[in-house]
């Protein structure tokens, strides 16, 4: 078993890892506990990774490049917006950045992996730092509990995936995607074993995506961890798992289409429905976003059920890109509100559009994008984009389920928007905070909103340029 290393494809991940180490070392030798000490090298490393990805663009392929771009930009957004936690004693900056970048490196490797061992290794490289990130806040019992749930669920799912991979290896005699693809069309391959193997392998990835029935850890982990970590988990981590899933089924397993196609369709339908129903009961903005991101995972998986059409591949990536921006904006705005007001419950945020339009309007716009409702045209257009391949493939029932879920989703998104626009009850409490770091975080929110606005006005920007 000899796996050659293709440096052009792992270069971004390596650069990110180097940045992680530098960040940790800087913090170790100049322990002043300020955010910039390790944040700056991290940011530089991410920019470097982005440059590397651009340089090797042709070797990566359009698809991997787009996913890498989402991962690198998403992490950069998280790093910059995390400045909001500056001077928060419970959060150690060096460790935070180290773990965050390690996870990002895992994500970057995951989307370029073309064999099963790399997939598992990068999956672990993404998972383990993520778990630590969730439990990183010192002295927070909730965070520790969330991290434990996350850890146990993660380990079980990885074990299941390993089982599936070993079965696949047993059947085909290889770990390389292309070899597996050729081996699976041989008539001598035992079909029942292949089905089981595919099923088990996919479970691990679906778990990372937070798809039903493996979604239970999601709300728990998001509400327990600090807000920007939740933002990271809901976008970058999801982008990586989705990319790996799509590549795996498309490159390695087209022969087992009959196994994974119905599986993914049912999982997608169940995920969006359960996620939306869960979100309906929330009265806290972060809890709502956590459940909504479960529902959004359903929309991401749905076009995978029609993957063999050409659009089946581009549609989820385009949806993912818009979802990532909107979700990051929402989480960043909420982290600012959490720092300023100490809570993100609906009661606390009531009337935000009136009292603080510079945070309230971006939050409302991001929510509209997630709901897919004009004036956030881009949200609606991407919903259209993910429906197209499904219908082209003839899975109309799934499209109708999506339609019903757009309605369900709107029920709670509108409730949140109404809360934001409502008349506030009295003067809100605003805690004293370091102005610079708040300003940096606010700037990221505004930049993200500007991106969403630009995409709404010219949907072409993103729809023609992503794969």
């Amino acid at each position: 078993m000899n796996i050659p290393i293709d440096w052009s494809t792992v270069a971004p991940a390596v650069i990110i890892l180097a940045g992680a180490l530098i960040g940790l070392l800087v913090d170790a030798f100049y322990p002043r506990r300020t955010w910039l000490g390790s944040g700056l090298p991290s940011s530089i490393a991410l920019v470097g990774a982005g440059v590397a990805a651009c340089v090797y663009r042709d070797d990566l392929g359009r698809f991997s490049f787009a996913l890498l771009a989402i991962i690198v930009l998403g992490t950069l957004f998280v790093v910059v917006a995390s400045n909001i936690m500056n001077f928060e004693n419970a959060m150690p900056p060096g460790e935070y950045h180290f773990l965050l970048l390690s996870a990002a490196a895992g994500a970057a490797m995951m989307v370029v992996s073309r064999d099963l061992v790399t997939l598992v290794v990068s999956l672990e490289l993404l998972s383990l730092p993520s778990i630590a990130l969730v439990g990183l806040r010192q002295g927070d019992k909730n965070a520790i509990r969330s991290a434990w749930t996350f850890f146990l669920a993660s380990v079980v799912s990885t074990a299941i995936t390993l089982m599936g991979i070993s079965l696949l290896y047993g059947v085909t005699g290889s770990l390389d995607y292309l070899v597996i693809r050729k081996a699976l069309v041989e008539p001598t391959v035992p079909q029942s074993v292949v089905s089981v193997a595919v099923l088990l392998t996919l479970i691990g990835l679906l778990f990372k995506l937070g798809a039903v029935p493996f979604h239970v850890w999601v709300p728990d982990a998001y509400t327990g961890s600090s807000v920007m970590v939740a933002g990271f988990l809901s976008t970058v981590s999801k982008a990586a798992s989705l990319g790996a899933l799509l590549v795996l089924v498309l490159v390695a397993l087209p022969a087992a289409y009959d196994t994974w196609q119905p599986l993914l369709a049912v999982v997608a339908a169940a995920t969006m429905t359960v996620g939306n129903l869960g979100a309906l009961r929330q009265s806290d903005a972060i809890g709502m976003l956590a459940w909504s991101s479960v529902a959004q995972a359903g929309f991401l998986i749905a076009p995978a059920a029609a993957l063999l059409t050409l659009e089946g591949l581009t549609a989820p990536v385009q949806y993912l890109a818009v979802y990532a921006v909107a979700n990051l904006v929402a989480f960043a705005a909420l982290s600012v509100m959490l720092r300023l007001r100490g809570s993100t419950s609906f009661d606390e945020l009531r009337g935000l559009v009136r009292t603080d339009p510079w945070m309230g309007i971006p939050l409302a716009f991001a929510t509209l994008t997630l709901a897919g409702f004009p004036p956030a045209v881009i949200g609606l257009v991407t919903k259209y984009v993910v429906m197209r391949p499904i219908i082209e493939d003839g899975v109309i029932w799934l499209a109708v389920v999506m339609g019903v879920n757009i309605m369900l989703g709107l029920a709670f998104y509108v409730r949140f928007i109404v809360v934001l626009c409502d008349r506030p009850d009295g003067e809100p409490y605003v805690s004293p905070s370091p102005p610079v770091s708040v300003r940096i975080a606010k700037t990221t929110v505004l930049l993200g909103t500007a991106a969403l606005l630009a995409m709404s006005v010219w949907p072409n920007l993103i729809l023609t340029h992503l794969p």
Partner: protein, 479 residues
């Protein structure tokens, strides 16, 4: 030109909301009325004749699936556009009062502009974007400005608004699926180019618009939303929003290859709606709910007419829609006047003898009511007659369905007469019991109601120009 007609109300509406603190309600409403008038005039001037697509604009928008910014005025959409713009102007005029919130004017402008956008879109995705755009502002209109000042009413208004929103979004989500099917089968998103032989598309699109129109049994959002909304909200809902449903059906009909298989169900639902709403109206004490239910009946006539897919049917559907827009708009304005005076629209509480107490208000109400029940010489008459004529032609429906619908529709006409006469008797006639709040029409009410009455009368006496759009008059009535 069309772009200007759309952008002006949007921008003015957004500005009014942004500058809500600096403006008085009276000024805001005046500005709003001016903006809508600009739009109305532009739409009236853009017309180039019924064969052409007037003022067409066609620019690339989203290249990967060939969605275009494609706007234009056709013979089908022109009457709807003028009616919507007119209703928008009147709603703003109605709001020229001191206690108006500028935000409400802004929302009214945005809703009107979005509806105008729906009527002028020739691209299906653009149509859908505008279709959705009007919904959330409408939620705010109903929930924030609806209900009365009585305790507990605010919550009811919210519930009604949310139900309205969820029903319509469920419908439009199905419509979106239908649009995707059409675009994939037809390879185009442009009206005229797109066509699908799929039955699923026909069912989904019809279901989507059936919620909006609304057809029994998908109408349950309507009575609450209409009766809880503020006056302008009710008017916009009845005169404009319901038309989005009927216009949508007319607009998509040529693109759906198997519409004829869905048509009988539409026709039956419409006919059942006519009778059902008749009975429901007869039992109402609340005037606004009565008008709301009567809308379901009128929309039933429109849907039956268009489901025949004949030329007369299309003419009847358009005429019925426009007439309903003006008449029901007028009825809701009258109900609004009553509510302003008495704080309620319960006919029992308002008391009898309005002829003696507030003569002009009573006259306006009776005029609108008899127009609504289809008195010859007024606009409502032609819509109903042409509908019956269209059913008589059977069209794609098939004899049994058509005749059933015809019988139910005639029964419905009788019921309509009965419940409006009852309402007139309860409010207008009888021994006057004067109340403190008795006050005849003020100037803004005279202007609004007068313009609407003139419109109703004009359409009733000279239906020719409108009908000519869909084939020469003689051809429609003769043959």
């Amino acid at each position: 030109v069309i772009v200007a007609a759309l952008v002006v109300p949007f921008v003015v509406g957004a500005l009014l909301i942004a500058l809500r603190a600096e403006l008085s309600g009276r000024l805001a409403a005046g500005v709003g009325a001016a903006a809508m008038t600009v739009s109305l005039v532009l739409y009236a001037l853009v017309w180039e004749g019924k064969e052409a697509v007037s003022g067409e604009i066609d620019q690339s928008w989203i290249e990967p699936f060939d969605a275009r910014l494609h706007l234009g005025v056709t013979a089908l959409s022109w009457p709807f556009l003028l009616m919507t713009a007119l209703v928008g102007v009147l709603c703003c005029l109605w709001l020229v009062a001191d206690d108006t919130a500028p935000v409400l004017v802004g929302l009214v402008l945005i809703i009107s502009a979005a509806s105008l956008g729906v009527f002028s879109s020739l691209d299906l995705l653009l149509f859908f974007v505008f279709f959705e755009l009007a919904l959330i502002p409408m939620w705010f209109v109903i929930a924030w400005f609806g209900g009365s000042s009585l305790a507990g009413q605010g919550r009811e208004a919210r519930v009604a608004a949310t139900r309205f929103l969820l029903f319509t979004v469920a419908g439009s989500a199905l419509l979106l699926v239908g649009i995707v099917i059409i675009s994939i089968d037809g390879g185009s998103l442009q009206a005229g180019g797109a066509y699908t032989p799929s039955l699923a598309a026909a069912v989904l699109v019809c279901l989507g618009f059936a919620v909006k129109t609304p057809l029994v049994p998908l109408h349950t959002w309507l009575p609450d939303a209409h009766s809880k909304a503020p006056t302008v909200g009710s008017v916009l809902l009845a005169a404009v929003f319901l038309k989005l449903g009927t216009y949508g059906l007319l607009f998509f009909m040529p693109m759906l290859g198997r519409f004829s298989e869905v048509a009988p169900y539409l026709a039956v639902a419409g006919a059942v709606g006519i009778v059902w709403s008749g009975f429901a109206c007869y039992a109402q004490d609340d005037l606004k709910r009565l008008i709301a239910y009567s809308s379901i009946g009128h929309m039933g006539f429109v849907v039956i007419a268009l489901s025949t897919q004949t030329q007369v049917g299309v003419a009847a559907a358009v005429f019925g829609s426009i007439a309903h827009g003006l008449i029901t708009g007028m009825l809701f304005f009258v109900a609004g006047s009553l509510k302003d005076r008495f704080g309620t629209t319960s006919m029992a509480l308002i008391g009898r003898g309005l002829y003696g107490r507030t003569p002009w208000l009573a006259v306006a109400f009776v005029f609108a009511a008899v127009a609504s029940l289809g008195l010859p010489g007024l606009a409502g008459f032609w819509g109903e007659v042409l509908s019956l004529r269209a059913i008589y032609e059977v069209g794609v429906l098939g004899k049994p369905v058509a005749w059933t619908a015809l019988v139910l529709a005639v029964l419905g006409i009788a019921l309509t007469t009965a419940y409006f006469v009852r309402a007139i008797r309860l409010l207008g006639q009888g021994e006057p019991v004067p109340q403190d709040a008795d006050r005849d029409l003020v100037r803004r009410e005279i202007v609004v109601l007068g313009l609407l009455a003139a419109g109703v009368l004009a359409l009733g006496l000279v239906p020719g120009p409108l009908l000519d759009l869909y084939g020469p008059l003689l051809e429609v009535l003769g043959s």
